[in-house]
Amino acid sequence: MIEAFAELQELSSWLLLAAAILYILVIGESRYAKYYFWAGLLIHGVNFLMRGLDLGWVPLAEKHDTISFIGFSLALSLAYAERKTRNDRLLLFGTPLVVAFLFISFLSRRQDEISPFLNSTWFFLHSVTYFGSLGMLGAGMVAGGLFLHGRVSELEQMQYRMLLYGWIIYTVALVLGSIWFFVAYGTYWLWTSKELWSTLTWFYLGMYAHARLMPRFRGWPAAAMGTLGFAFALFTYFGVGTVIPSPPTAF
């Protein structure tokens, strides 16, 4: 915590804090909520650009930045879903999750270094699509959760859309990640818990896409299943390596 406050002397940390405060104001449900949200999103984006300029590479090589980017991608996906459905509750219920990601990012220790194996265009393309897809899956979870609560079919449609977008972008991320892995380590697959869970999440989303076509899963069963997609993706990133041991990616 002390380290986090010490880091506040840097502009990017101030920007992150300002974005978090604006997002928190959204939860207050005032008539300016949308303005706060968009201002928060803008400052959050500026922070990402500044970190990149400061480091000299796409700032997605350490947990501090990746968690912040998941929050950014989630906020962007929520904004898209809100514009399509005109349902303010998506922002209201989704923004606390964005704030949570920002604070976890804020408390994660910064390293500001990159391994030569990660300093690759393929890796950066993989990271942007991977963490971008997580935001879409998160927005799908929020829409699905709201559908389960109020049964507004439009929200279930939005969940399906966000999960399909997330799944396809996740597929792009896995392909790009495999290319990077092949270029860096000479293989596109390793037998580790991390790789198994990445594939497991892809299969789970595939299972959801097929289940939604089945009459017996229409409605709340498919929505409940889709809501869990984000949990699978998050567990792959945060849980595997901590709850389930997995060796770090290396030769």
């Binding site: 030569p116 300093n119 597929t171 092949f182 380590y185 818990s193 497991l200 389930i244 997995s246 060796p247």
Partner: protein, 241 residues
């Protein structure tokens, strides 16, 4: 009887439970791998099937065999689903919406084929290479390290490294730079700069690989992306138009 089996294989319900089975097996695997770290330590160093046959402790590897069988089952179901699709008449309006999932299915099959070839015929080995001291990783291929640049960090550890490799095969010779995540491909082999061993003078540790499955897996990945993107367009953009 055959018709019943065919209907069973192409049904969505079969696909759903096949996915569920694979999820269960991967979950078991993700727990078994760290539990038996020493046993599985060599699994990535040689083709999968060669490793599986040499390490036949069924209590530890049953889930990999089951995973291979499950993926083969899903592959069969995918092929039959695509054949079933080809038998149906298509209306022009829903053409894209119905074709694109089949392109994704084809992508999955290509990825499966890639893994099968990699797991059967891949080749991977490490070499310590000294500057000016040639090696022959395969018959007819000769490799010489011509130059080695090393960047050290504040602690004196290697932070970045690159080298010039001269490769010769049947009179043909090329010199290319190699660095981490910047391999060289020559004569059907991939040369990867793994690390630098600090001996009396720095020694390059190179990994040399051949992976016949990689192009198929890449083609599958491209088909998955193309099919998925076109499906999203057909499903959402057209419905809004």
């Amino acid at each position: 009887m055959l018709n019943t089996l065919y209907r069973f294989l192409v049904s969505l319900s079969t696909v759903f439970w096949s996915f569920a089975l694979l999820l269960g097996l991967m979950l078991v695997g993700s727990l078994m791998l760290p539990e038996n770290l020493a046993f599985f330590s060599g699994i990535d160093d040689e083709p999968l099937f060669r490793w599986l046959l040499a390490n036949a402790e069924i209590t530890k590897v049953w889930w990999i065999w089951a995973l291979v069988a499950g993926i083969a089952w899903l592959g069969l179901s995918t092929v039959l689903c695509t054949l079933d699709f080809l038998r149906t008449r298509l209306s022009r309006v829903r053409f894209l919406l119905r074709v694109t999932p089949q392109v994704m299915h084809l992508g999955v099959l290509f990825v499966m084929l890639g893994h099968l070839l990699t797991g059967s015929y891949g080749f991977k080995t490490d070499y310590m290479v000294r500057k000016g001291d040639p090696i022959e990783p395969l018959e007819n291929i000769r490799l010489t390290l011509e130059n080695l640049d090393l960047t050290l960090d504040e602690l004196g550890l290697a932070a970045d490294w690159r080298a010039d490799l001269r490769l010769e095969e049947q009179g043909q010779s090329v010199t290319r730079q190699i660095r981490p995540a910047g391999p060289v491909y020559f004569g059907g082999l991939g040369f990867y700069f793994k690390s630098v061993a600090m001996e009396e003078e720095p020694v390059a540790v190179l990994r040399i690989c051949r992976d016949p499955g990689a192009p198929w897996a890449l083609a599958g990945g491209i088909l998955l992306i193309m099919g998925g993107t076109a499906f999203l367009y057909a499903r959402f953009r057209k419905s809004e138009a």
